[in-house]
């Protein structure tokens, strides 16, 4: 099979158009973050003429952005820590042991994808009220951990399935317990899987909006998505310059993380869906 020159040009043109559609909104976000309010509406499509840091200054000084950024970081990192600690042994058990209820447990883990946010939020709120965790970071952390855990267990099980049991068996002969063979042999080999789970969980927690909206009631407790939604939806005139700057700063950490973590996450996601 050969491809004629004309067809090859068409192929590249089509790809360029589709990629442009994919990238255009992000470019616009960067541009708007660097423009003044008047320039945003007088020259909506142009490159910033004299990039300004005025928006950055007003976001940092006049809003709760900085403290909300800190909240997002604390919630994200703590959620990742909890999820990794809880899901690694569970993924190992699903991969290595045959036990009654194994299929039921797997089914329930996968079924959580369908649980509507409104039902979960109402149910979780009761849990949080019971433990006095409404409007507090630990409350949101355990919500995000519960949200991320089912799929993370499933991802890790897939990684563990590919590590040969034979590698562990020799260590059992030397007197290692199951827990020791998990921590000394399996986990070091499953580091890509753990990085995939960490990436998945951090992206999920950083972008999660609904639970945070429901349980974080005072502005200094907001995470960044809630901050942004209140910024844009507070009625009256929306200031697009500062808003875009805040949006850009919210998007940068997960984008940078994703550049490094994507291959671990994607290999975990695709491995389960192929074959």
């Amino acid at each position: 099979m050969r491809m004629t020159g004309g067809k090859q040009v068409m192929l590249h043109l089509c790809v360029l158009v589709l990629i442009a559609i994919v990238l255009f909104p992000s470019v616009l976000l960067v541009f708007n973050a660097l423009k003044t309010e008047t320039e945003i509406f007088n020259h909506p499509l142009g490159v910033p003429r004299s990039p300004t840091l005025q928006n950055l200054r007003s976001v940092a000084l006049d809003t709760t952005f900085v403290v909300n950024l800190r909240n997002s970081a604390i919630v994200g990192l703590c959620t990742v820590l909890i999820v990794v600690i809880v899901t690694a042994p569970a993924g190992y058990a699903l991969s290595r042991f045959k036990f009654r209820g194994r299929t039921l447990f797997s089914t329930l883990l996968l079924a959580t994808q369908a649980f509507p946010g409104i039902i979960m939020a109402l149910g979780l709120l009761t849990v949080l009220i019971t433990y006095g965790l409404v409007n507090r970071l630990p409350g949101l952390i355990i919500m995000h951990a519960g949200f991320s855990m089912p799929f993370s267990i499933w991802l890790l099980k897939g990684y563990f399935d590919e590590i040969p049991v034979a590698l562990e068996e020799s260590s059992w002969i030397d007197g290692c317990t199951r827990l020791q063979s998990l921590t000394r042999i399996v986990l070091p080999l499953a580091v890509p899987g753990l990085l995939g789970v960490a990436t998945f969980t951090l992206l999920l927690s950083w972008g999660e909006f609904f639970f945070a909206l429901v349980v974080m009631r005072s502005p200094e407790m907001y995470t960044l998505p809630v901050f942004l939604a209140h910024f844009v939806g507070s009625g009256g005139i929306v200031e697009w310059g500062p808003l875009s700057t805040a949006g850009l700063l919210t998007a940068l950490p997960p984008v940078i993380l994703f550049v490094f973590g994507q291959r671990y996450l994607i290999s975990g996601l695709t491995r389960g869906a192929l074959k």
């Binding site: 290595r96 045959k98 946010g117 199951r178 697009w240 998007a251 994607i266």
Partner: protein, 290 residues
């Protein structure tokens, strides 16, 4: 799995590994689900300052609520249309990105998936700006002499404007999954189809699509469920308006539960949503466990 080990003895040894996950799962997934569903049978009673049991009343009220039916039909339309558009766009993109004649293929593939990492609220606010009356899209249209409509303020357009943003958000994930599917295909099988005289269209429909059927079902079901339960986009872009033109079930449930102080009614809306996605989640689970 070593032979001769019985399930029951393995169960005892598996338990310590499962306990932390079982505790978190019961507390943060199962209990909230059951408790949340049970709240749909209660209503907040102002004088008693507590929830009182009302049986099926929240559900019978739903059937007399025109806003609920508006949200329901919007929800179904928005899910079907935006997931279909997402799939067509992503399938085209994945097919092009898989071509061995494409230069800088790695760079293009990397560029296509970057938006995956963008938080949904950020994406929603960018699209809200794009669709403003004096926003980016209408500026483009004005450049070619067209007066653009009020994308977010016209009741007949608002829902579809939101659907564009939803489609865009799903593209990276669907493209990555389909691309992985296409990359796993056997090149000889495709060449055999061409040698047998199959046209491009025939090869797509008879050979390629059936061979990646599993990954297609998985991504379509996941995206359908996520879209059906989607909240951020309409919350940020239109708040369900103008009127109830872009009202969706998750937003209507949220408004009832947390703005109108009717948690039972909000829960009932959630229960209806759950019932409506049961088929999709069953299909998804069946394919994943296969």
């Amino acid at each position: 799995m070593r032979s001769g080990q019985r399930a029951s003895s393995q169960g005892l040894r598996a338990l310590p590994f499962l306990v932390p996950a079982l505790i978190v799962f019961s507390m943060m997934n199962l209990y909230p689900l059951i408790h949340g569903i049970s709240r749909s049978f209660y209503a907040y009673h102002a004088r008693a300052r507590a929830d009182v049991f009302v049986g099926w009343e929240n559900f019978t009220l739903l059937f007399d609520d025109p806003t609920f039916f508006r949200a329901l039909s919007n929800n179904i339309l928005w899910t079907v249309v935006s997931v279909a558009a997402m799939f067509i766009f992503s399938y085209a993109l994945a097919t092009l990105l898989n071509s061995k004649y494409l230069r800088f293929r790695r760079a293009f593939q990397a560029a296509a998936i970057i938006p995956w990492a963008l938080p949904r609220v950020v994406v929603s606010l960018i699209w809200r700006y794009i669709f403003l009356p004096d926003g980016a899209l209408n500026a483009m249209l004005a450049g070619v002499g067209i007066q653009g409509p009020g994308w977010l303020t016209d009741p007949s357009l608002a829902l579809w404007t939101c659907a564009v943003a939803n489609m865009w958000i799903g593209v990276p994930f669907v493209t990555v999954m389909l691309l992985a599917g296409l990359q796993s295909l056997d090149g000889e099988m495709l060449e055999a189809a061409v040698v047998d005289g199959a046209s491009y269209f025939q090869t797509q429909v008879r050979v390629i699509l059936p061979s990646i059927r599993r990954v297609i079902i998985i991504v379509l079901m996941l995206e359908a469920i996520w879209t059906f339960n989607g909240f951020e986009i309409v919350f940020v872009m239109t708040q369900g308006g103008p009127g109830n033109a872009s009202m969706l079930l998750p937003l209507y449930g949220y408004l009832n539960a947390f703005m109108y102080y009717q948690p039972g009614y909000g829960a009932a809306i959630g229960v209806v949503s759950l019932v409506l996605v049961l088929g999709a989640i069953a299909l998804y689970i069946r394919e994943v466990l296969k």
